[in-house]
């Protein structure tokens, strides 16, 4: 299914440094329209760095990032976000002292407000818990609810590409399932393209159409979600013992 689809995000030979330390050593990644693509790897492999680099913070020193036919490698972060790449960053980063509704408004504020009512209704269908908590402060939500809020806030911008950094981090298995179901639903219903960075390799690969494995700043393997799930190396490194 990926062959026919139009490429939405093309990452070519990206190198990113933190000072003198190289974090990404020339990474190539493709995400086609309508796909769920996951990036798995151990701690410190550079998964989050790749996601942050796509958003322009930190900036790639070499290579190119092309999104929807436009080179975004040198664009400021906020301009990248306005091209409807929505990001739910690692650690959720919701606004703790603002209410749930205000958090959602912040997500929508860059776009046309005429969709606000329909969009927010859609978020309530997706995450009914948010409706109950609408006037509560973000900081008073549980971890799972905060993650739902972070995803919903990202979705309020009506993104073409949704990038999620470890949405399952620190959540109970049941909540993880709820969140992954929601991602699958968004992809099936709206054809939303999702780029998912995950440690929880089993769930991520089951959900994704395609996956990449990253080790020490290099992509070492790629393939369909099923292929990677059955690959003995992947099983040994990321699934055995850790699988649910």
């Amino acid at each position: 299914m990926t062959e026919a689809a139009k490429p939405l995000l093309t990452v070519r030979g990206v190198r990113t440094y933190y000072g003198n330390i190289i974090a990404l050593k020339g990474v190539d990644v493709d995400v086609a329209q309508g796909e769920i693509v996951t990036l798995i790897g151990a701690n410190g492999a550079g998964k989050s760095t790749l996601m942050m680099t796509i958003c322009g913070n930190p900036r790639a020193r070499d290579g190119s990032i092309v999104y929807d036919g436009q080179d975004i490698t040198r664009l400021p972060t906020h301009d990248i976000a306005r091209l409807r790449i929505a990001q739910s960053p690692e650690g959720r980063r919701i606004f703790p002292r603002m209410t749930v509704l205000e958090n959602l408004q912040m997500g929508a504020s860059i776009d046309n407000l005429e969709f606000f009512d329909t969009d927010i209704q859609y978020m309530f269908d997706l995450f009914p818990r948010l409706k109950e908590r609408l006037h509560q402060r973000g900081g008073t939500l549980s971890g799972g609810e905060q993650q739902m809020l972070a995803i919903a806030r990202a979705l309020m911008a009506r993104p073409k590409l949704l990038m999620l950094d470890e949405p399952s981090l620190g959540l109970a298995p049941l909540i993880v399932k709820q969140i992954f179901d929601a991602i699958r639903e968004l992809n099936r219903r709206d054809g939303l393209t999702v780029f998912l960075v995950e440690q929880n390799a089993f769930h991520a690969l089951k959900l994704a159409h395609r996956g990449y494995v990253m080790v020490n700043g290099v992509i070492t393997m790629s393939g369909s979600g099923r292929e990677l799930l059955e690959n003995p190396e992947v099983r040994a490194a990321y699934l055995e013992g850790g699988a649910h």
């Binding site: 400021p76 002292r97 603002m98 006037h135 008073t140």
Partner: protein, 464 residues
Amino acid sequence: MSTQAKSLPQGGPDFGQALKDGVIVAIIAFALLGPLVGLRTDQNMANELIIQNRLGLAAILSAIVGAGRFLLSAFVYPWLTARGRKTKAAVTLAELETRATRARHLSIGGLAFLFVYPVLIISLVGVQGSIKWVDNFGVQILIYVMLGWGLNIVIGLAGLLDLGYVAFYAVGAYSYALLAINFHLSFWVLLPVAGILAAFWGLILGFPVLRLRGDYLAIVTLAFGEIIRLVLINWKAFSGGSAGISSIPKVTLFGLYSFDVSAPNNFAKVFHLAASSAYYKVFLYYLILLLALLTAFVTMRLRRLPIGRAWEALREDEVACRSLGINTTNTKLTAFAIGAMFGGFAGSFFAARQGFVSPESFIFMESAVIVAIVVLGGMGSMIGVALAAVAMIGGTELLRELSFLKAVFGNDFNPDQYRMLLFGLAMVIIMVWKPRGFVSVRQPTAFLFRRKTVSGDLVKEGHG
């Protein structure tokens, strides 16, 4: 539980017990203070050591201590226990609704009081006697309320710790002073000009410090405040140096009436009133009241606009803001500029009121007081900031009124000198008692269905 209930006085405070407490404490205090304070050794002309008997003073001090203990036992402790018991029980939604309504009524009542205050004072103490109450208390406090509300935009909403706010106050004051004297422009023309100039300086400060955060930002803004002051001291040709600028024109009543004694359209002369500076003070009072309310109104409107929400989001999480497509550079600059603009307005009012400006008025202490007002008030809360300004500025003004204490502590006692001591003590007490400021509740800016109050259990800061 039952034993605890028994030990607590049920029908009001137990005065007998409290009196006993007070007397015992007074006796202990006298036993201590008698030798310490009551007896003082001194040398007479013949270099002989003599004992001065000051037992009366010791007795007075002991009586104060005893009375304090009596008040604590009789009123403060029972009140604290009652309060502790009440907060234990879950607060119902209905109770919160009534509390919110009460708060609304209170602020409307407070506003009405502010408008009738000068009238009230004049009818109580007469035209001449009103000067002190309208000027020293009213105008002085309202200037700081306005400065607090202006800085609240920068610190409370956008979360940028600005320790050099007084610089913008100075820019506003000198703008009015210099332009009014050199170009003979009226206050009403120069008020917006001063605001624009201050906002411009806010932008100039904003650009270099945009990359800084927290402590680093605080240090640079502090330095900026000092730079402005030092330039004003040393650039004598421009600002008159430390001698300052005097005989700054007064504000006119929109050019219709003047408050200059020699002017033909002098307000008192036209209305055949006895000449007094009180009319000008009352006029200034209403002027600063309206300016402060303008600040409050603009802030409240801005909070409901995307820019205001972006300020608050910026305070919460800068990275998240950027990932949501907010240009953090512009957002910070607008916060700096708008905050500075209100500082400039207040500054030009200050220059017109004093008739004299000098760098002495714009020392770091002023910045510190304004920051303290914002922090004490509860960052971001308008009512809280106003209350803090009343407490801090009104409190220090009240100290001047305590000259009767000379009767107790002797003639060389000057309550004014204890200003900073009490100031610090009050800050410590308030921060222990209310660590998030007087009003720590943040009003949400958006309601989807209807304005509703949320139970206090749900709005406290939590951990996910």
